[in-house]
Symmetry: C2
Subunit: 247 residues, 2 copies
Amino acid sequence: MRQLLVIGIGAGDPEHLTLQAVRAMNEVDAFFHMHKGEQKDQLAQLRRDLCDAHITGSYTWIDVPDPERDRTGPGYEDAVADWHEARAGLYEGLLLDLPEDGVAGILVWGDPALYDSTLRVLDKIVARGKVEFTHRVIPGITAPQVLAAQHAITWNRIGGAVQVTTGRRLAAEGLVADDTIVMLDAHSSFTTVPEDTEIYWGAYLGTPDEILLSGTVGSVGAEISRVRAAAREDKGWIMDTYLLRRP
Amino acid sequence: MRQLLVIGIGAGDPEHLTLQAVRAMNEVDAFFHMHKGEQKDQLAQLRRDLCDAHITGSYTWIDVPDPERDRTGPGYEDAVADWHEARAGLYEGLLLDLPEDGVAGILVWGDPALYDSTLRVLDKIVARGKVEFTHRVIPGITAPQVLAAQHAITWNRIGGAVQVTTGRRLAAEGLVADDTIVMLDAHSSFTTVPEDTEIYWGAYLGTPDEILLSGTVGSVGAEISRVRAAAREDKGWIMDTYLLRRP
């Protein structure tokens, strides 16, 4: 039966790859890659470089344009569900083109378990029922892990809990845990929390362009917003994450 | 100056090691290993096996008995703080024995950022001020990541948040998030949540002894408790984790 390997490749540093990921990459006949347009070409190239560096045999690289996601409407979850369905259709076609004993691979930044849609899209392909395949997931190092390592901090305090959430939810709900990790924040939502909250922020983690800043939100919040905007302007894109710690 | 590398080595499968961890392990002159007594000998051996498999040069392995932790008193946080202070004293002595340009390494199961005391102990050594050293942290794959990969599930739902917490807190606070990952639960605290909560449970993740169970707490909760108790009895120790998902 066709196999699909969903492989977490870490958060930016090519050396975040696990030995398990390297082994899995070497099993793959064809990599499926959703192309997100010009501004992320650099990220696509990093994926290709990982393959070139670690795959000893031959493989095919199949680039398909990522379906457009409606970012204009009010229904965030509906828009995301439509986008997943469109992706499911594309992957389904690619799987059907694969030989029956073929192995496909999808490389995922970070870990497929955390703020990544690939596994939900695969569930949709299974639900559509048009192609039979098995899949296997390989975990990868996530940006919040690299953030903590670079700042030499822990996620949790002794016996404490940590919430992993989005910028959108932080802005809507405020801090709901003593320690909170925020991902996917396009709007500097940390400016909405009390000024004495500690923030550990990082962008382009694990890459040569890495930026780290920390302090209380009151003391470094404005600087983070400034640095973030300048870096985004400069490179055309930004990937960042941060940890908030209540005093 | 002396260097100390705190290296996450993953959650059980030797192939969870990242390329970065392998590189770091090869920089180490002396590994410090806190020996926890007979029942965890198997885990200690796994660490040694990783070194033997991936280190090309020579290294020293320094075994020291882990200080006793007071598990009898009422003050959980005080007892943990005392234990950290005792560990800090031990590491401090080992660092002082190291040549001034020496590199020490501590191998940490999972990721040093998540429910591990090593970084807090290092902060105590710094605060004591008796030995100068720099330290660097290498993130590692954690058990909850392996749990999600093996069940082929995500931590969060679309746009959702996830709480990472302890069995102790779950028992005290109940479910405070739609999706909750529980670690360090010695008392099957999942039995305290509503029966229609989905549970994805795993023990000895990433090892040949791995056990996976899932379903609603009502349908598989009792079975998990039974399987867990039997496995613990059989091996003498257990490491498990689970994800709870509100319907």
